[in-house]
C-alpha cells in the first residue's frame, strides 16, 4: 500500500497532487431521483432501468455478434459457442460483486471508484488510468469493426474501391465524427440509443429464428455439417474466451453512470446482470446457429463480416442488408457508448486529483466535457491506425479484466471489515464464493491471452503506477466518500 493515512483525510491540505489539487469528496444522500449534497445542491438521476440496460447491451452487442463469430470459430471450432458461454459466466461472476459495490457507492466512475475507495489510491490510480486506456482500446476495436462493415456495405452496393483498403480510413473518419459530435451535440441522444438497441435486438432475434429453423432442417436446404464440437481441442476454447471477452465489457459501463441511475439500489443490479444475461444468450445462440449453417472452417475464412454471408444464406439479399445495417448500428453504438464512458472515467480520476483537474473541464459553449472527450478521441484515432482487431480487443479485455478482478478483491476487502458507511442495497448471493471465483476467473482469463497483448496491458498498468508516484502519491482516497 502507499504510505498514506488510511482514513478520510481527503480534502484536507495533506491529500493533494503535484498541482496542489485535492480530491473533491462528499458523498451526498442518495434518493431515488436525485443525489442531495450537504450544501443543498442536488444532482438529478435521470436514467431509468431501460436506459441502463440500453447502455449495457448497446455497448456489448456490437462486438460479440457482428465482429467475432468468424474469428472465434476459426480459433476454437464449433466450441466457440463454449468460449462465449465461459465469457458470460465470468462476466456474471463479476457483475454480481460490481452490483453490490455500485449500490453501496452509486457514484460516477464505476469500478475505479469502488477500487479507490476500497483499496486505496495506488490501486485506484492504476485501475482508473488503465480503464481510460482500456476503453480507448475498446473504442478503437469497435471503430475498426465499423470500418469492416462500412467496407462491406460499399462492396454490397457495388462501389468500386479500386483495391484500396478503406477499413482504417473509414474507422478514422467515424472516430473523428463521433468525438466532434459528442463535443458539440447537445441534442438528447439517449432515446436514439434506446431505439438503436431495440432495432438491433429485433434484427438478431429474426436472424436467430430463421437460422435456428434452418439448422433444424425445417426451412431452406442446409448441407449437414458434421464437425466434432472440440474440433480444435479444448485449449483454444479458453484462449478464444479471453479474446472474445471484449464482447462483455459493457456491463461495467453501466456502473460508470451509477451516479445518474434512478433508484440505483434496484436498477443498477438489474441493468448489469440483465444486460450480461441478454447478450450472453444471444452470443451463444448466434455462434451456434452460424457454425451449424456454415461450419467453422468456412466461417473463419469470412473474417469480421462473416455474419453477413450467413444471413444471406438464410434470407437472401434482404438478410445480408439487415445484418449490414445491424453491424453498422451496433459497432457505432458500441463505439459511442465507450467514448462517453471514457470521458466519464477521465472525469472520475480528475475529480479525485489523480489527473490535473483541467481534464474534467466543461466547455462553456456546449456544456460538454471537451477536454475529456479529446483525451478519449485522440488516442482512439492513434490506435485505429494499428488496425489490429484482435490485439485491440485483447488489450481492452486485459485492462478491464484487471479492474474486474480487483473489483472482486475490493468487495472482499470491504466485506471483511465493513466500514460504517458501507450499506449496499444489494448483497452478492453466494458470498464469498462468487467474488473469489470472479477474481480468479478474471485473472486466469488474462493468462490465456497472447504475449503481445499481455505485455501492452502490463506496460499501461506500469505507466499508470509511475504516473501515480510522480503526480499524485500524496492523494488519499481510501474510504473517502
Amino acid at each position: 500500500m502507499a504510505g498514506v493515512p488510511e482514513e478520510a483525510t481527503a480534502g484536507s491540505g495533506e491529500s493533494a497532487n503535484r498541482d496542489g489539487e485535492s480530491p473533491i469528496v462528499g458523498a451526498g444522500e442518495t434518493e431515488p431521483e436525485a443525489t442531495v449534497y450537504d450544501e443543498g445542491t442536488e444532482l438529478e438521476r435521470t436514467i431509468g432501468l431501460s436506459g441502463g440496460i440500453a447502455i449495457g447491451v448497446g455497448t456489448m452487442i456490437g462486438a460479440g455478434i457482428f465482429v467475432f463469430p468468424g474469428i472465434a470459430a476459426g480459433q476454437a471450432g464449433p466450441a466457440a459457442a463454449g468460449s462465449f458461454a465461459i465469457g458470460a459466466v465470468v462476466a456474471l461472476l463479476v457483475a454480481l460483486p460490481t452490483s453490490e459495490l455500485a449500490t453501496a457507492m452509486p457514484r460516477s466512475g464505476g469500478g475505479y471508484y469502488f477500487i479507490s475507495r476500497g483499496m486505496g489510491s495506488l490501486f485506484g490510480a492504476i485501475v482508473g488510468l488503465s480503464l481510460w486506456f482500456g476503453l480507448v482500446f475498446a473504442s478503437a476495436f469497435y471503430l475498426v469493426g465499423f470500418g469492416f462493415y462500412a467496407e462491406a456495405v460499399l462492396t454490397q452496393f457495388g462501389v468500386a474501391l479500386g483495391g484500396f483498403d478503406v477499413v482504417v480510413p473509414l474507422a478514422l473518419l467515424f472516430g473523428v465524427f463521433l468525438t466532434v459530435l459528442n463535443v458539440t451535440g447537445t441534442e438528447n441522444a439517449a432515446k436514439l440509443q434506446n431505439g438503436v438497441v431495440g432495432v438491433l435486438l429485433a434484427i438478431i432475434v429474426a436472424f436467430l429464428t430463421f437460422g435456428g429453423l434452418s439448422s433444424l432442417g425445417l426451412i431452406g436446404n442446409p448441407e449437414p455439417i458434421s464437425e466434432s464440437f472440440f474440433s480444435k481441442g479444448t485449449f483454444p476454447v479458453l484462449t478464444t474466451a479471453a479474446l472474445v471477452f471484449t464482447s462483455y465489457l459493457g456491463f461495467a459501463q453501466v456502473a460508470t453512470v451509477a451516479g445518474e441511475i434512478k433508484d440505483p439500489g434496484r436498477n443498477l443490479p438489474l441493468a448489469m446482470v440483465g444486460s450480461v444475461l441478454i447478450v450472453g444468450v444471444l452470443y451463444v445462440a448466434t455462434i451456434f446457429v452460424a457454425v451449424s449453417a456454415f461450419g467453422s472452417e468456412r466461417l473463419a475464412t469470412l473474417g469480421e463480416t462473416a455474419m453477413v454471408t450467413v444471413a444471406e444464406s438464410f434470407l437472401g439479399p434482404l438478410g445480408a442488408v439487415a445484418i449490414l445495417i445491424g453491424g453498422l448500428l451496433a459497432t457505432v453504438s458500441s463505439a459511442n457508448a465507450s467514448i462517453l464512458s471514457t470521458s466519464r472515467a477521465i472525469y472520475a480520476v480528475s475529480k479525485d486529483a489523480l489527473l490535473p483537474r483541467v481534464a474534467g473541464r466543461i466547455n462553456l459553449r456546449y456544456g460538454t466535457p471537451h477536454v475529456a472527450l479529446g483525451l478519449a478521441g485522440g488516442p482512439i484515432l492513434a490506435l485505429i491506425l494499428l488496425g489490429e482487431v484482435e490485439l485491440l480487443a485483447e488489450v481492452a479485455s486485459f485492462l478491464h479484466l484487471v479492474m474486474y478482478g480487483l473489483i472482486c478483491v475490493a468487495l472482499l476487502a470491504l466485506r471483511r471489515d465493513e466500514p460504517e458507511w458501507y450499506d449496499p442495497d444489494f448483497r452478492v448471493p453466494g458470498y464469498p464464493a462468487v467474488p473469489i471465483l470472479g477474481a480468479i476467473a478474471s485473472f486466469a482469463l488474462i493468462g490465456f491471452m497472447r504475449p503481445a497483448s499481455q505485455a501492452i496491458g502490463l506496460g499501461i498498468m506500469a505507466l499508470s503506477a509511475g504516473w501515480y508516484f510522480y503526480y499524485a502519491r500524496d492523494v488519499s482516497l481510501r474510504g473517502a466518500l
Binding site: 436525485a34 435521470t46 456544456g367
Partner: protein, 246 residues
C-alpha cells in the same frame, strides 16, 4: 374545501441568465415561494462534473435572487439542481415542496392586470382560490377570459365566466376589479396569447397531456412564448406521490 397555503415554485435557469423580475417578486409576496435554480446538461456531461465547475457561481446567483426576495419583503426557499431532464426536475421539486403553482418567469414591469383563461377542463374552484390568495389585499384587476369555438357556444361561455366570477367574489376579490371577456376563436391558445398582450400576467390551469401538447409544447408554455409575459400554472391536485418509471 379548506384554504390551503399556496406554494409557488419559481424555476430559473440560473446559469442561462434567467432571473425573476422585481414586479413578479412583489406580486408573490405573501405566498410561500420556492426558487429552483437549475442547469440543464447534455447527456455527455455527468451532473457531478458540472457541479464541480458551476456550483459556486450558480449558488451565488441563487443567493442574490433570494436576497432580492428578502429586500422586497418576500421570503423564499432555494434549491439548486444539476440535471439532464428539465421536466423531471421540475416535477420532482414541485412534488417534494408541495408546490401548487409554477411560475414561468418572463419579464414584466408591473403586475396590475391578470388574465385568467377559463377553458373547458379548468378546475375553476382551484384556480379562483389561487387567484384570490395571490391578489390578497392588493389592488389588481382580473380578466376572466373564455375563447368559444363557435358563435353558438358564446352564451355558454359567458355564463361559465359569470359563475367563476361569483366564485372569485365569494373569496373576497372586489367585484369591481373582475371583468369577463368572451371571444370566438378556433385557436384558443392564440386567442389567449393575444389577450395576454393587454395584461401583465396570465394565470392558467395545467393542460392535460395530449398530442397537441406533445407537438407544440404545453399550453402555458405556448402562451408564455407568444405573449412574452409571466405565466403562472396552477397544477392539478396531486392525490399521492405517484412515481413514474423512465
Amino acid at each position: 374545501m379548506t384554504e390551503p397555503e399556496w406554494t409557488v415554485l419559481v424555476p430559473v435557469q440560473i446559469l442561462e441568465g434567467e432571473t425573476v423580475p422585481d414586479a413578479v417578486i412583489d406580486a408573490l409576496t405573501g405566498l410561500p415561494v420556492v426558487v429552483l435554480g437549475y442547469h440543464v446538461l447534455p447527456e455527455q456531461t455527468p451532473p457531478g462534473q458540472a457541479r464541480m465547475q458551476f456550483e459556486e457561481p450558480a449558488q451565488t446567483k441563487l443567493d442574490d435572487l433570494a436576497a432580492a426576495f428578502g429586500e422586497r419583503g418576500a421570503s423564499c426557499e432555494t434549491r439548486l439542481v444539476f440535471t439532464h431532464d428539465e421536466e423531471q426536475t421540475l416535477d420532482r421539486v414541485a412534488e417534494e415542496t408541495g408546490a401548487d403553482a409554477v411560475l414561468i418567469p418572463n419579464p414584466a414591469a408591473r403586475i396590475e392586470r391578470l388574465l385568467v383563461p377559463i377553458g373547458g377542463e379548468v378546475d375553476a374552484d382551484r384556480i379562483t382560490a389561487f387567484v384570490a390568495a395571490l391578489i390578497g389585499a392588493r389592488n389588481v384587476d382580473v380578466t376572466l377570459f373564455h375563447a368559444a369555438e363557435t358563435e353558438a357556444a358564446r352564451d355558454a361561455g359567458q355564463s361559465r365566466l359569470d359563475d367563476v366570477r361569483g366564485l372569485l367574489t365569494d373569496r373576497g376579490v372586489d367585484a369591481d376589479a373582475v371583468r369577463t371577456e368572451v371571444t370566438t376563436s378556433e385557436h384558443p391558445i392564440r386567442a389567449i396569447s393575444t389577450a395576454a398582450a393587454d395584461h401583465d400576467a396570465v394565470i392558467m390551469g395545467e393542460s392535460e397531456p395530449s398530442l397537441r401538447a406533445f407537438l407544440f409544447g404545453e399550453a402555458p408554455e405556448q402562451v408564455a412564448a407568444q405573449s412574452l409575459g409571466p405565466v403562472v400554472v396552477v397544477r392539478r391536485p396531486r392525490d399521492s406521490d405517484a412515481g413514474d418509471e423512465g
